[in-house]
Amino acid sequence: MDQHIAETAGYHDEQWHSHGHQKESFVTKYIFSQDHKTIAKQFLITGMFWAVVGGALSSVFRLQLGYPDMSLEWLRPILGGWITETGQLDPEFYLAMITMHGTIMVFFVLTAGLSGTFSNFLIPLQIGARDMASGFLNMLSYWFFFASSVVMLISFFLETGPASGGWVIYPPLSALPQAMQGSQGGMTLWLVSMAIFIVSSLLGSINYITTIINLRTKGMTFTRLPLTIWAFFLTAVIGVLSFPVLFSAALLLIFDRSFGTSFYLSDIYIAGEALSHQGGSAILFQHLFWFLGHPEVYIVMLPGLGITSEIIATNSRKPIFGYRAMIGSLLAISVLSFIVWAHHMFVTGMNPFLGSIFMILTLIIAVPSAVKVFNYLATLWRANIRFTPGMLFSIGLVSFFISGGLTGIYLGNSAIDIQLHDTYFIVAHFHLVMGAASFFGMLAGVYHWFPKMFGRMMDAKLGYIHFWLTFVGVYLIFFPMHYIGIAGFPRRYYSWTNFDVFNSFTDLNIFVTIAAIAVMASQFIFLFNFFYSMFKGRVAPANPWKSNTLEWTTPIRPEHGNWPGTIPNVYRWPYDYSKPGAEDDFIPQNVPFSQTLESNFPHENDLIGLEKEEEGIVIDENETH
């Protein structure tokens, strides 16, 4: 029997090796790769490209807001005709920039760049699988994302400019080409790009869910999954349920724009002329859009929370506090995310009773969110903390999650929301809680898993400089914005100097602009660190953070197939840090209880017999591949 096991295992190894070495040319290894690790890196690099574009856009429109009289003539080589003859920013292009900043950051960076990178990279490695359930669909997922990126990028080069109706593309503004320049070709390309993006996102999500449910290694029960995997799993579930709804919304908008239907349009006069569209409802679009839009917030947020759970536990050298409560709160957030969408629509004239229902549901989200925060803090409490760059960014995430989440409690109340709707208070709130927080989750993940991705370490000192500049800078940007918002300063306005009330905020706006540009500039420290370390960084040890999860049991540079021999079995949960009696302060998941008699709890000693029985079970990998 044992002989047989060894032989079948050996056979598989050979198969995987040949898969890893011989068949792959440059094209199949680096471009049309089906290896989840390469696809993850492709998502990461593309996401980083988009983050630079999105950040550059925000720097330019912050200049407009901070220094409305400044001459932007020096941007003419890049922006060309979008700089007016007097050297000012074209007002229509200002709207295009904020629209593109939102679209790029929410979808391309924090959805594709974050989920695409870390779900792809970590799911097979942490659950003990050779690859995703379908490597081919996974590859398609990236290339659909790439195609949608190309379409979105092309829209920048149209004469009429990219979409300009805000990232939420509310009709009728977005539906009528005569309404504004950006609603012409740019809006069409936006819709095409997003339709392709939805396909990419669905292919990815379906793959993640299938892989997590079907391809876990022996012993990897759901209650032994690292919290990263739980977060990616629920993110993918939310994606599968919500992105099709955005597709519906976009499809009807396409019909309204290009085929003359009236789903969202009714009783509209433009330049004194009545349009033929009758019987539609613009509010219908908002319902459809926010049914995706709100879960999208959690698609952006959950991966960061999962990554943080993992990094905080590892670097606190303590088990995560309340593992099951963490899973429960993730589940609760996922469920609640689908029944709160109308809190984005309190000012649409909805029935106040309906409004108060959505208000209560919204406020309930504070409960699981607070559970998560409490558990993070309890994990950090009296811990033996190692301040690695990844850990700092994770703690930064917790900080943003608290300060941004508190204003969420204000905004969830319809009475206050109606006052603060579409002001900079909202901008400050969501940039802290879902923008900066998710971004920090992404950066934390890159710093933490860089050694696994590229076999080298990132420079920690540059990481610290990057962290402090960014962390302080983000607060300097968004704290003042709350005050500007409470004063009633509306978002998306190109110019506010015509309003006497807002002139007193000039200095605050200048302050925010300087902070924003400083934060943007400090990201180049990260980019330098990233690319320099990829080639010249210190070679990473096998388990640089002394972490328990399975990815650190692979070779330093894993081939396609991840483990050269058999896949390790899992015997314990991933958070056995500083276990009393244990020799080291960590016990990886693949160490059986029979080898850790000195630190086992009584109920774990009972599991030893079970482990022996399970050893005899052979899993035929062919069945699943």
């Binding site: 379908s134 379906i206 299938t210 085929f259 239907t261 009236s262 019987g279 219908l284």
Partner: protein, 177 residues
């Protein structure tokens, strides 16, 4: 469960969400008033019968594959594809009937919605027919048999889903149009 089958079910869930959102949008829009009232095209009853029959034939074909009756399998698969095409043509004629009743795609959303629902369903049905053709080709190469059923099982699941989806849409339209 086979991972690919599982992935298919998730794909089905995402399609379901598209139609759930569309039919919800239908109800929300209808609640707004200014709604066009019309009768459903009689062609719908014919196409419904066609799609249900095709599902039955495919299931019969699946049983044939299970018992290695390959000739029967090929014929049944071919007939399923033909009925799928007949369904599409029937849906087209239901649009012709709608136009003759002065219900247009461009105009009151009440009318537009029925075109979107049927059109989206037809679009997915084309993907189902492509899937059937792929299975038929591998059946012609004798690659679908009792030891290799995954593909036809997935195809049958998808096709039955598309049939059931149509029945849902029909019932929905009967009650809400």
């Amino acid at each position: 469960m086979h991972p690919h089958k599982f992935a298919l079910w998730l794909f089905i869930v995402s399609i379901l969400m598209i139609f759930a959102s569309m039919t919800s949008a239908f109800i929300v829009k209808q609640g707004d008033g200014s709604w066009l009232d019309y009768n459903l095209p009689s062609m719908f009853w014919f196409t419904t019968a066609v799609i249900i029959t095709s599902s039955g034939l495919l299931q019969w074909g699946y049983f044939a594959a299970k018992q290695d009756q390959l000739k029967k399998l090929k014929i049944l698969l071919a007939f399923t594809i033909v009925l799928g095409l007949v369904f599409l043509v029937g849906q087209w004629y239901s649009w012709v009937q709608l136009v003759s009743m002065d219900v247009f795609f461009v105009g009151n959303p009440g009318g537009s919605f029925i075109y979107v629902l049927t059109g989206l369903h037809a679009f997915h049905l084309i993907s189902g027919i492509l899937f059937l053709i792929i299975v038929l080709i591998s059946a012609l190469k004798n690659k679908v048999h009792s030891k290799n059923l995954v593909r036809i099982e997935m195809c049958a699941t998808y096709w039955h889903f598309l049939g059931a989806l149509w029945v849902y849409l029909l019932v929905f339209l009967v009650f809400y149009h």
